[in-house]
Symmetry: C2
Subunit: 219 residues, 2 copies
Amino acid sequence: MTDNAFPVTERNKVKRVPLRGAYDRESVFAVLDACHICHVGYVVDGQPYVTPTLLWRDGDTLYWHGSSASRMLRTVKTGVDVCVTASLFDGWVLARSGFHHSANYRSVMAYGKARALETEAEKDAALKVMMDGLFPGRWEEIRPSTKQELKGTTVVAMRIEEAAAKVRTGGPVDDDADYALPVWAGVLPARQIYEAPVADAKLAEGTLFPTTLAGYLPD
Amino acid sequence: MTDNAFPVTERNKVKRVPLRGAYDRESVFAVLDACHICHVGYVVDGQPYVTPTLLWRDGDTLYWHGSSASRMLRTVKTGVDVCVTASLFDGWVLARSGFHHSANYRSVMAYGKARALETEAEKDAALKVMMDGLFPGRWEEIRPSTKQELKGTTVVAMRIEEAAAKVRTGGPVDDDADYALPVWAGVLPARQIYEAPVADAKLAEGTLFPTTLAGYLPD
């Protein structure tokens, strides 16, 4: 626990395998910033819903967005309690017994209440942060947002009240007696890659793949 | 809509871009079976929680498991309403305006109530289905489950009451006037790969990488 940590309460305390849990901003932000796609949990009339959406962050505040007609956005912007979960799968951990099989992963559960950004200028500024995070330089290349587009878009902001990161890395941990078994054990590491870009068939003549997207080219 | 579809209610109806929604078992199962990691949404005292976990399926029934001490499992096994969401990110869709940027993805939201499997034999049979799905043949190679391990494991089963798949594929769809702009547009396709397996340092002498895991070897 460091001074730069989120408070620990019954809500965010990591109960199973507490050694894997972390509450400091550095650990929490590292996972959130690596994720892009998160899962937003909210409740309508007692029924939980979990909606996948694009996530971005500015300091302690998480942002997501979509059509103003979205049930998820119409609900969360009323300030109800929300749980935002981001997770990355890093591979399978194969042990000598079924019981000790596991997965390597990085995850964060973040709690708070969201509010909708009100003005078109606020929304446009937040969308620029999103775009700059994903595709630095692209915001300046594309056609600017129109008033109508910003009107039809809801952007919500949620200051993180509490959060916990939970991470597993490394190989299997087997029962002592099982290490003598002739069973292959180890890790099958997984990661996400990008494949060759697919240009739109209707590109204006002479339009080249921009240097601003070079980071997405395959090795 | 086919005869082999889940019912459509206010809960699972795809409201935004309904053309992307599907309720037939084939579409729903294709996404669930490709996912492995899902996000389970549940409510405790009005607070939503979203927990990532390993998912598997047998017919209309979804399964997940973990330590019997898990808050998530202790809650969902009481038969409360649960939303299980599985999603796969397939790439970024880059348009000529910010507004038409999107992502390609496959997702399912499934609704139902879970129950805990009761006997050790039931649990072990369900864990075999999980293992056979992920690593065919491995169940027979590993050390069998003990009574104590099965006792400490909760396996829950949720028959899907309602579900919807939502899928986006293909390139950007821009405003007519924007096609003339000299802005690169297209898809940055993403996928998950496995890297070279990392053998545990304590393998019993002479233990080879098993043919049952050959499907996980990199190309």
